[in-house]
């Protein structure tokens, strides 16, 4: 598997640390309530198809990336800097 890091270019999977769903970007407010926090910390979809993950280019530039990929074909369709994605959410 290769991930096309926006800063470093296409790199072997070994350089990346896998975190999990990009849901982690949407941290609820402290008072958002039990359900929102449970969703945020524990509940994850398990799609057969498109999924958005957070990967850390740990052995490369150190950027956190939002990787859109297909869990069936394994095709990676989009790789974005997490700072850009989070910035656009603000």
């Amino acid at each position: 598997m290769r991930i096309d890091c926006p800063l470093c270019g296409a790199r072997d999977r070994r350089e990346f640390y896998y975190q999990g769903a990009a849901v982690a970007l949407n941290r609820p407010a402290p008072d958002a309530g039990v359900e929102a926090w449970d969703d945020y910390v524990h509940l994850r979809d398990n799609p057969a198809g498109e999924t958005r993950d957070l990967w850390h280019h740990e052995a490369g530039c150190g950027a956190w990336l939002v990787v859109t990929r297909d869990t069936v074909s394994h095709a990676v369709s989009r790789v974005e800097l997490a700072t850009d994605v989070k910035g656009a959410m603000a």
Partner: protein, 978 residues
């Protein structure tokens, strides 16, 4: 026997090798198989299960029978295919799976018991009694069955791993692959061309037909010469592409020195390549399939294409009187080539009716089938059945062709399923199975030489175009373009065992038995019969087996489907995949600046993550580690000890929002910390569990330096990156790991200040450096940092200098310490010192502990949000029945404690679910004169003074311990402030 005037081997260079201890001579370019056949040896192995005598079936890497062990001693390599192993001077080869000898194998009695050993035999027979399986059945079966065995010794051979990159990977250098590489190469594409053979050409090396005005082999050599002259093309021979993976990644095994005697001196035996390619062309060719009939496994029965290869490429006829049997036109070539070379052809038998063979100088029997073979260790005759009846033909070699199967394997590695083509009675790759891969030539069901050349040219040009290159014209040479015609014939009807999978001894009967027992799915059939397993992975037998299964279950072949081909295409030694990871290559070794001196002082080094740290520093006269440890604890409690603490993570944090970041990642406040002061901090994961702890010093208004535990340094760094990139990219803050910039030493004990003042330019006192103070200092002429922090409960400091001075400072500090009745202390003493004070490490915060559990709930500031705060407040994480951190000490002062032990109420049943908690750390406290420990006990904070039962079932320890506060020394904390 060699045939005069035939073959590509170098007859000017003879090579001597040994097979089962006997010396044989071949020529440069020979494989073990071709050289043995040239010497008249046809018996090369014994089968897996029945120990039937077997000869060579093929002339390539798909060989199921002729498996040999190469080399001797520790590095002897089993299960090498004799058809792949090239001979070299001094090569030692042994046959396998036969005892006492290949010629007389005792285990061949299995063959007589065959009626009882069919499909599912083991599953049905060895069910009971249950305990017999491990004790009797399995050892006996393992001894009897199997292929070659490893030496069991450490393999000293060198293996290598490497990475390669290209725009276009061409897999296979037959006519299609060569044309594809040529077309792409001329267009300027960055190409890698791989072929598993020792030279390029593929089938062209085995055929007599011409390409243009050259022989096939010469044409291949001419293309090779042109490719090698191109800077943008890399040709890798003896390199098998073993797997296709996500994102254009391929695995490939290069046999670097398997064909030479070169060993040692860093010369790799094999190299495992990871190739990243933008596009690929699969031109892997096709594999010929046999036809099943009774005793079709006799040595001397081989595929028709293999016989042709031995004749045309190696100048060897596998027999003196050869018979050819096939269901297709291609088989005719074998008879014609043999006859033209002067080899006696006993007959050509074609299963089809109405076939004529032009210019045949041998008997042609059409509408006929070979239904039996005779001769146990070597073929003596075959029985041919026609509508007129059966006749016997004396022959010592039978060349069989049931048609050709495109080598679709790689296209299935990403879950692709091949497509059945009725016209060629074979599976071909399904387009798009591997992204950006094109398939060309025989691999795609194109079987004429001209067709392959054309198809390869197309694939090469299309790839060049897709890669943005201008296509350059390549002339298509004239070559054979005969149509491929066949009528399906999988198994000849009749009694006896007709073999499908030679390597696993699976017969037509076994497949039918599987169908009868309702193992109708091809995947179930495979597992029930073992068809398609082992080194050849069904390369010869898969299509035949599923055709038989289809027939037995009344379905068509496409409906029956195929099993899944998975990587690797051919066997890959684990040593090759793990190359470089033995010994020092297993993991990075991180050495502190004091490492050399510690080792010189005899300190046993222990691993702490990747770091190596001294356990203790033995002194003359000390016979146990405990003596050293007790002495070192004494240094710190009574005088002064010095310990290298550089391995703790150090992160420099700067920026206008540095304080905000720290307030968010630590449970407690850091924005309120004064410049020049240090504070202990606790970090949680977002789920409320403790992630790490450590101190953080404020060096300036917007400048902090955080320390992490040695173990969590990487994880904390990643966490900080996460927080600042994924949660708060708006914060203006930067952090940099400075773990390696600073060599840092703890100087601890009542005489710590006295020692430091001996090395600092400006002496420190309680005012300039109070407890938890920090600041820049000059140490022996070097700018450093001083932190007054303590992990021992004693008056202590940590002094840091740039790493280049670390070794020197360590020496200097030890010199001073030793003069003052102190000295160096290692991890064992450090551990005792911190247990005596109840300071935690990751033995305590093991990923299940909350701030509440470790008695630090009040460290979660109410004034602000922080990572983990919300979830840490969940009722379940604050439940008083949770195991809470306590100290333990044995009621009997002489009792031995151990970490990992469980705690129960005295008198309670010591069973799972009944425990109170467990012990995380123990050590011997010289001060108290007994072993002490840290443990987690349900409702522990309220149970100080209670006696509970300590049980270590693993080490057989059991004793009563008293629960107490987890501070054993100086509970008021006066010393640290003194």
């Amino acid at each position: 026997m060699r045939v005069a005037g035939k073959g590509l081997v170098n007859r000017d260079k003879s090579v001597t090798f040994r097979f089962d201890g006997v010396s044989y001579t071949g020529f440069e370019g020979d494989t073990v198989a071709s050289a043995l056949l040239a010497n008249g040896i046809t018996l090369m192995g014994r089968s897996f299960k029945y120990h039937r005598p077997r000869g060579v079936l093929t002339a390539g890497s798909e060989e199921p029978n002729a498996m040999v062990t190469v080399g001797e001693g520790a590095g002897a390599e089993p299960n090498v295919r004799a058809t792949v192993q090239e001979i070299y001077e001094g090569l030692m080869v042994r046959s396998q799976n036969a005892w006492p000898s290949l010629d007389f194998d005792v285990m061949a009695v299995n063959d007589l018991a065959a009626p009882f050993l069919g499909a599912g035999f083991y599953y049905k027979t060895f069910m009971w009694p249950k305990r017999f399986w491990e004790a009797i059945y399995e050892p006996v079966i393992r001894k009897a069955a199997g292929l070659g065995a490893l030496s069991g010794k450490h393999n000293e051979d060198t293996y290598e791993k490497a990475f390669a990159f290209c725009d276009l990977l061409v897999i296979g250098a037959g006519p299609a692959g060569l044309m594809a590489a040529l077309a792409a190469g001329r267009a300027g594409v960055d190409v890698i061309l791989c072929d598993e053979d020792m030279q390029v050409g593929g089938r062209l090396l085995a055929e007599s037909g011409a390409v243009g005005h050259l022989s096939g082999a010469d044409w291949a050599a001419s293309v090779m010469a042109e490719l090698e002259a191109m800077a943008n093309v890399r040709v890798m021979t003896r390199t098998t592409v073993t797997g296709a993976y996500d994102g254009g990644t391929f695995g490939a095994l290069e046999r670097v020195n398997q064909h030479t005697g070169k060993r040692g001196g860093g010369a790799p035996l094999e190299c495992f390549w990871r190739i990243a390619a933008k596009r690929s062309v699969l031109a892997a060719g096709a594999l010929e399939r046999p036809i099943a009939f009774q005793n079709n496994d006799r040595p001397g029965v081989m595929t028709a294409g293999a016989v042709r290869a031995y004749l045309n490429r190696w100048g060897v006829s596998p027999g003196e009187k050869v018979t050819v049997f096939g269901n297709n036109d291609d088989a005719h070539r074998t008879a014609l080539d043999l006859a033209a070379a002067g080899v006696h052809v006993a007959a050509l038998i074609d299963s089809r009716q109405g076939i004529t063979v032009e210019a045949a100088s041998f008997p042609v029997i059409v509408g006929a089938q070979v239904c039996n073979a005779a001769g146990r260790k070597a073929l003596e005759s075959v029985t041919v059945r026609t509508s007129a009846g059966e006749q016997s033909i004396q022959t010592d070699c039978l060349a069989v062709s049931g048609g050709w199967n495109p080598t679709v394997h790689l296209t299935c590695h990403m879950n692709g399923r091949p497509t059945w083509r009725e016209d060629i009675q074979a599976f071909v790759p399904t387009a798009g199975s591997i992204p950006d891969m094109a398939v060309a030539g025989a691999c795609d069901g194109v079987f004429s030489t001209l067709g392959c050349l054309k198809d390869g040219l197309r694939a090469g040009q299309e790839a060049a175009e897709a890669l943005g290159k201008r296509v350059v014209a390549v002339d298509l040479p004239v070559a054979d373009d005969a149509a491929y015609a066949l009528e399906p014939l999988w198994a000849v009807a009749g009694k006896g065992r007709a073999w499908l999978d030679f390597q696993n001894d699976v017969s037509v009967k076994d497949i039918k038995q599987a169908a009868v027992e309702n193992f109708r799915s091809v995947e179930h059939m495979k597992r029930y019969t073992t068809q398609g397993m082992a080194t050849d992975q069904g390369k010869n037998s898969n299509v035949m087996a599923l055709a038989v299964l289809a027939d037995a279950t009344g379905r068509g072949i496409p409906e029956t489907g195929t099993t899944t081909f998975r990587p690797p295409y051919g066997p890959v030694a684990i040593a090759a995949m793990g190359a470089g990871a033995q010994g020092h290559g297993f993991a990075p070794e991180r050495f502190t600046t004091s490492h050399k001196r510690s080792v010189e002082r005899g300190a046993p080094m222990i691993e702490a993550g990747l770091w190596y740290r001294p356990s203790y520093f033995p002194k003359a006269g000390e016979t146990t580690w405990r003596q050293s440890c007790d002495r070192e604890v004494g240094y710190v409690r009574k005088a002064v000890g010095v310990c290298d603490v550089s391995t703790l993570g150090k992160i420099d944090i700067q920026g206008p929002d540095a304080a905000e970041l720290l307030d968010f990642v630590y449970t407690n406040l850091f924005s309120t910390l004064q410049v020049g002061r240090v504070r202990y901090g606790l970090m949680l994961r977002e789920d409320g569990t403790v992630m790490d702890d450590g101190t953080c010093a404020r060096l300036g208004e917007t400048h902090y330096v955080m320390t992490t535990t040695t173990a969590a340094a990487g994880a904390v760094m990643r966490h900080l990156e996460f927080v600042t990139q994924c949660l708060h990219p708006e914060w203006q803050v930067a952090f940099t790991s400075v773990t390696e910039q600073w060599a840092q030493f703890a100087v601890a004990g009542p005489k710590a200040r006295e020692l430091l003042n001996g090395v600092l330019a400006q002496p420190v006192d309680g005012e300039s450096f109070p407890f938890m103070g920090c600041g820049p200092v000059e140490v022996a002429g070097v700018q450093g940092r001083l932190f007054r922090i303590s992990f021992s409960g004693e008056h202590a400091y940590e002094v840091a200098v740039p790493s280049r001075y670390g070794a020197s400072l360590f020496d200097l500090l030890l010199e001073h310490a030793e003069r003052m009745g102190g000295g160096a202390y290692g991890m064992e003493a450090l551990n005792v010192l911190r247990i005596e004070k109840g300071f935690i490490t990751h033995a305590e915060i093991d990923g299940r502990r909350t701030a509440f559990d470790i008695g630090a709930a009040r460290m979660i500031s109410a004034k602000k949000d922080c990572v983990g705060k919300t979830m840490a407040a969940r009722a379940g994480l604050m439940d008083e029945m949770r195991p809470q951190m306590v100290g333990i000490k044995p009621v009997d002062a002489a009792a031995v404690l151990s970490a990992g032990a469980h705690l129960y109420e005295c008198g309670a049943a010591q069973v799972n679910g009944n425990g109170l908690g467990h012990v995380t750390s123990v050590g011997y406290s010289p001060d108290l004169g007994l072993q002490i420990g840290i443990a987690f006990v349900a409702r522990g904070a309220a149970r100080h003074g209670d006696v509970v039962r300590f049980v270590d079932a693993v080490r057989g320890l059991e004793t009563d311990v008293e629960v107490c506060a987890p501070v054993f020394v100086d509970p008021e904390g006066g010393r640290v402030r003194g």
